[in-house]
Symmetry: C2
Subunit: 240 residues, 2 copies
C-alpha cells in the first residue's frame, strides 16, 4: 500500500531569508520536492532566491506561469500545477510550494488550494503563514503602521482607474498599496490628492540586496519602479 | 567610553513558537534583557509563553500595563516603559521587546517607538516583523483569504456601535475583525446582516494549546469568547 505524501504551502516572507519562520524551514528541510514559481518574463524566482541556501537542485521543480491577467489562461495554468502537486502527493512525495510573503495574502497558493479541492485529502495539506511585504516595509523604517482603533485597508492596484478604490481609501486610517507595477507615478498623484497630511513608506524589494526604502514620496528618484513594491500611507501622519 | 546597546522590537507571531522568524530567534539569543508585557488582569504573558523555551528568568523583565483604553493612563504607562528601555540601551544592554503577532500591526511596539523618539538614536532600534493572527488563522484552515484584485480591510472593533465601520466593510471583499473581546455575539449579528453569502474563519488563541477554530459561525458554541481571537470573513464565499 502506498503511503500518501504531504503538501506544505509556505510563505517565505518578502525577501530577507531571516524572515523565514522556524516551521517553514523545517518543512523545507523535510521536503522531497520543492516547487518554485518563475514568471515567464524573469530569469530567477524571487521566492526561490530567499530560500536558496536550503534548497539543492535535485529537489527543485521550477514551474512557469504566464504574465497575464486573462482569467482562462491563469486558471488553466493553476489547474496544471495543482494536478502536478496532487500527483506528487499521491506518489508519497513531501512537497513544499513556495510563495512570497504570506501564504494566503495575494499569493498563488490561494489558487492552488482552490484547484486542489477534491484532488487530495485536506489532511494532506498544511499552510504555513509568513511575513507580508508591508509588515516588513513598516519594520524596516520603524514606521508605526496601525494602532488602537485605526482601520487598515490593503489594496492591490485595480485594473482601471484608481478612483475605484477611493471609497475604501476614505474609510481607512492606513492604506497599503500593492501590485504597483508600472503605475507608480499615477499612484503618487492619487496619494497626493487623497492624503495631504500623510506619513508614508515606499519599499521596493524589501529585505533583498536590491532593497530601496523612501519616506519622502516627493523625493522618489526617477527610475524607481513598482515591481515587488509596496506603499504604506498613514493618513494622519506620525505624531510624536 | 560606554558603548550603546540596541533595541529589537520583535513580533513573535500569534501563538505557535514555530512561527517565530529566524531573525527574531537570533535577537532573542543575543539579548541581555527581554521585556515581556503582562496585562494586570492576567497571570501569564501570552507573548512570553510563545518564546519561553529560549528565555531564562535571569534576562527577563516583565512590565505591567493597565487594562484601560483611557488615553492618559496608557500614555503614562508607555512613557515609563520607553524610559526604562532607553536607559537600558544607554547602559549598553541588548534589549528585546516582545510583541504578539506582527511588531507594528496593532501592537504595543507602535507606542514604544513613538515614545522613544529623541531618546535613543534611530540606528539603535531594529524592528523585526512577524506573522499576524489573521495570516495564521487563514493558514490553519487553508482558507483562501485574498486573491487577485480583492480588497482587504482589517478592523479592530471600535468603541461604540459597529455601524461605525459599515462603510469600510461594504467597500471590502475580505474583512478581518480583531480585538473582539466580549463582543462576539454582537459581531456575529452584524456579520449575519452584512455578509449573507460569506465564508468565514473564527480563530481563538491560534497556534496555542487552547486553539479553537470554526468555519461555521452558526455553530459557535456557547462559552467561546473573543479574547485573543480573530474573525475573517470573505464576502463572496469560496468558489471551487
Amino acid at each position: 500500500m502506498n503511503k500518501r505524501g504531504h503538501l506544505w504551502g509556505i510563505g517565505v516572507g518578502p525577501g530577507d531569508p531571516g524572515l523565514l519562520t522556524l516551521k517553514a524551514l523545517e518543512a523545507l528541510k523535510e521536503a522531497t520536492v520543492i516547487m518554485a514559481p518563475l514568471a515567464s518574463s524573469r530569469e530567477e524566482s524571487a521566492a526561490l532566491q530567499i530560500v536558496k541556501e536550503w534548497v539543492d537542485e535535485t529537489r527543485l521543480r521550477v514551474y512557469g506561469f504566464p504574465m497575464t491577467r486573462e482569467p482562462d489562461s491563469l486558471a488553466a495554468c493553476w489547474r496544471e500545477v495543482a494536478d502536478e502537486v496532487a500527483a506528487l502527493v499521491e506518489k508519497g512525495e513531501k512537497v513544499v510550494f513556495l510563495t512570497l510573503g504570506d501564504a494566503l495574502t495575494y499569493s498563488t497558493f490561494n489558487y492552488i488550494l482552490q484547484q486542489l479541492a477534491g484532488k487530495i485529502p485536506p489532511e494532506c495539506v498544511t499552510t504555513i503563514p509568513g511575513v507580508t511585504s508591508f509588515a516588513a516595509a513598516a519594520a524596516a523604517e520603524n514606521f508605526p503602521m496601525v494602532c488602537g482603533e485605526e482601520l487598515l485597508a490593503v489594496i492591490p492596484l485595480p485594473d482601471g482607474p484608481l478612483s475605484r478604490v477611493r471609497g475604501l481609501v476614505r474609510e481607512s486610517d492606513t492604506v497599503v498599496f500593492m501590485k504597483i507595477g508600472n503605475r507608480l507615478k499615477e499612484l503618487m498623484a492619487f496619494v497626493n490628492e487623497e492624503f495631504p497630511d500623510r506619513a508614508a513608506v515606499f519599499a521596493s524589494r524589501v529585505g533583498t540586496p536590491g532593497q530601496y526604502l523612501c519616506r519622502d514620496l516627493d523625493r522618489l528618484p526617477e527610475g524607481v519602479d513598482g515591481y515587488l513594491s509596496v506603499l504604506i500611507v498613514r493618513k494622519a501622519g506620525i505624531k510624536p
